[in-house]
Every structure is written in structure tokens, then in C-alpha cells.
Symmetry: C2
Subunit: 221 residues, 2 copies
DNA sequence: CCGTCATTCAATAGAATAATTGAATGACGG
DNA sequence: CCGTCATTCAATTATTCTATTGAATGACGG
């Protein structure tokens, strides 16, 4: 073991944080925790993974200071340490988006048919909502909607989008949002709505980014 | 191999980037590359590591889109892909600084004696330089100074600081900067200058951050 | 065309990480 | 106090990562 100067010791700590971000499952955990705090069991169900595996990944994230855990009776609720985690995630994503050819390829293959849909910015949406010009739908599952959503949004989980679209006013534009910038749900919702003749667009990013931008969040009683 | 949906495929790419940041040596490479582009050999010398090892780490960084390589005759010059890398590094650092107790400990143990020195902000420094009130020194090695420095700064590598301090005007405040926020050199320079009676402070962050903020950089012919 | 030199590749051994399984812990409810 | 249930721990195996060594590549200079 070589003698470490303070800088190297610090860099080892920074590396612990980066390493904790360096696994797709853990990134997905962060995305879900960004919606609100969750028990181990709930996260395991969302990700379709064994509980012990999720528990260990969560502990890795906790050791890196990325999430914090709070015991509540039988359950342990995990949540993101703070918004700096989201911004670290966003920075890493930005590097990948700019410089990895594989990211380009995936986006082209899977999202390209939909890239003519210019996302609505948060400012734009606020203006549209203020003027009552659009219907805003939150396509996340009901439990995530319940943990906080954009004021005025109605919850239409992805599975119910087809049924809901028949009742919606066809002359009114629809804006959809979900968990975050690369969450497929809002892409799919917009595609489904457009396929039955609705005018629909995505909101840029998702709920966590809305909240991190300091915009109001509605929480059901 | 399980079937991957597009989101998981993207998250694997993001994880590649984060994983590449997840090693202390690679973080140190990024710090050095942030000063300017470098050959493999030069980086190996700076880090005191075998060339083959550095070469492999650089290739890991390149696969993650973090650095780019350009052949120039016998030499291959590596440089940072762009400023998004610096901001990713900064985000990771920020998470570690906020949430890792070990980072606190290291900073307390190694930098605490100097924490009464409020760093000078970039704006403050610009005003002070405009009014000619301070002497600005760049305590990095001469080769890094040559790759770009703050206009008006004079190069006083750390080893020469003691000798230089005798010639410096004792009535004039000195501001020192180096490679970045946790580069020890400017801390040590300030400590050395204060120990011989000078009034000295650190600039916040270092050269790469100055440049990333869009401020002017002086490059010798 | 050949030697030199910077860099990369290939192969190895050792260390760390990931997923799985089953057992242990710790808190609630009767 | 006992059974139940959410979570964590411990142990195992397979995989990946790291550092080192020595050989291969590729470009320059004579």
C-alpha cells in the first residue's frame, strides 16, 4: 500500500461516488428514488430484481453518500441524499449523449420515429397551463403520481392511455411527462395519442427535474 | 443475456461513463488533461506510473467518450472531450463533499489549518487585477503554465516559492492558484507565503474552471 | 530500408464486483 | 413471548477490473 497524499485520498473518495454510479441497475434505482422515497421491496418489484440484490446495490449507494435510509417500522425507506445526485446523474448523461456513438445509435433506433416531436419546455408548459390551452397528463404508475406531480396534471398510466384517449377532447393539445429525460413512457404515450389523431407532445425531462427546478409540486392529501 | 429495452441499453452507456470516472488514477488524469493536452509519456511522468498502465487508463477514458486522442508524429496527444467532462467531475466531487464523512475528515486533517483563508472568487480577482491591487501567481509547473494561464499571472512553481517570496513586495497581497479546487499546491503556496509574513489568499478552483467560466486565457507565443 | 522511440497490444495473476442462495436480524401484531 | 415479515448478512461462484510484463505496431530520422 503506497503512501497517499491528501489529494489521492480525496480522489479515492470521489472515485467511490463515481463507481457507485457505474452500474445500470443503480442508475435505475436513482431514477426511481428521484420520484420519491421507497422501500427495498417496492424498488425490487419495480426493477424486477431479487430483493437481496437490490438491498446490496442500495447499500453501495448509501456508502457513496448517494442515498440515505430511514427505518420506519418493518420497512426501510430509501431516498436520494439531495439534488446534487440528480445533477451528477445529468452530467454523466450529458457526457454520454455528446460523445458515445452507441447512445446516438440507440436513440436513433428507438426514438427516431418520434424525434419530430419537439419537447415542451417547462416555461412553455407553465404558460400553456396558465392559459388553459392544454391537457397535461402524467403517464407514470399511480403510486408515483401519488408521491408528487405537476399541479393540474391528471394521472393516466401508460396502460390506460388507449382507453383514455377516446374520452379526451380531440381538439385540445395534450402534453405528457413521466420519470425523466430517457424514460420511454412519455415517448410511447405521445406516439399512442398521435396514432389516434390527437395532437400530443412530451414535456422536456420529467418529474424530478421539474421539482429540482424549484417549480411547484402537487401532493395529494 | 436478458433482452434489454432501450432505457436499459442507454443506462448501460451512462454506466460506462460513470465507471470510467470511478478510479482515482483516471480522475487524476482528467485533472491533468484539464490543464491542456498531453502525451501518454508526459502523463505517466506526472503521475509516476508505468506508461502501459497510463495508456490503458487513457483508453478506458476514450471508450467512455471522456477524452479524445490525436496522433502527432510519434506522439499521441490526449485531451478532454469537452467541458461537460469537467462539470461531471465537479458534480461527482460535490456529492462526495456533501455526503461522505471521510472527505470531511481528510479536509479537516490536511487543510484545516488553512481554512481561515477565504478563497478569492473569480469576479473578485478580476476587479483586484483591474485596479492593480494584487500580485497573481500561478504555482503550477512551468509546462502547465505554458499551456495557458490567467492573464497577468506570473509563474512561480511551488519549489521556487520560498526564493521568490524574498523578492516580492511585502506590502502587496498575493493571490495564488493552481490546477483545481483540491490541488494542494495553492494551499501550500499560501501557507508558505503567510509563514514569511506575506498576505496571501487562494483563488477559488483553478485554471480549468477559469477557462470553463469563459474568462480570458493568456497563451505564450 | 533500418534503427529508434512512443504507444498499444496480449497474456498473466491478483483483486474487486455481481448475482444467487439461504440463514440471521429486528420490529411489529397477536 | 411467538410467528411473521422486511431487510440485511454471509458464503459462493462467475465475471470483470487492475497492474505488470514483454512483445508488436507505427512513425520518424538517417
Amino acid at each position: 500500500m503506497s503512501i497517499r497524499n491528501p489529494k489521492q485520498a480525496l480522489y479515492e473518495q470521489f472515485a467511490i461516488v463515481a463507481k457507485a454510479l457505474g452500474h445500470p441497475l443503480r442508475l435505475e434505482l436513482i431514477e426511481h428514488l428521484a420520484q420519491g422515497s421507497r422501500s427495498v421491496e417496492a424498488l425490487a418489484a419495480k426493477l424486477g430484481q431479487p430483493i437481496a440484490n437490490i438491498s446490496q446495490h442500495l447499500q453501495a449507494l448509501r456508502r457513496a453518500g448517494i442515498v440515505s435510509a430511514e427505518r420506519d417500522g418493518k420497512y426501510v425507506h430509501y431516498s436520494l441524499a439531495d439534488d446534487s445526485v440528480l445533477s451528477a446523474f445529468a452530467s454523466v448523461r450529458s457526457v454520454a449523449e455528446r460523445h458515445l456513438a452507441e447512445v446516438d445509435r440507440i436513440v436513433r433506433d428507438c426514438f427516431d420515429a418520434r424525434d419530430d416531436i419537439q419537447p415542451v419546455t417547462r416555461e412553455e408548459l407553465q404558460a400553456l397551463m396558465r392559459d388553459g390551452l392544454v391537457t397535461l397528463i402524467d403517464v407514470r404508475p399511480a403510486d408515483e403520481f401519488a408521491l408528487g406531480h405537476v399541479p393540474g396534471a391528471i394521472n393516466v398510466p401508460l396502460g390506460e392511455i388507449k382507453a383514455w384517449s377516446h374520452c379526451a377532447d380531440p381538439g385540445r393539445e395534450i402534453v405528457a411527462y413521466c420519470r425523466g429525460p430517457w424514460c420511454v413512457m412519455s415517448f410511447e404515450a405521445v406516439a399512442a395519442l398521435r396514432s389516434v389523431g390527437h395532437s400530443a407532445r412530451r414535456l422536456e425531462d420529467g418529474m424530478p427535474e421539474w421539482k429540482a427546478a424549484g417549480l411547484p409540486v402537487e401532493m395529494p392529501a
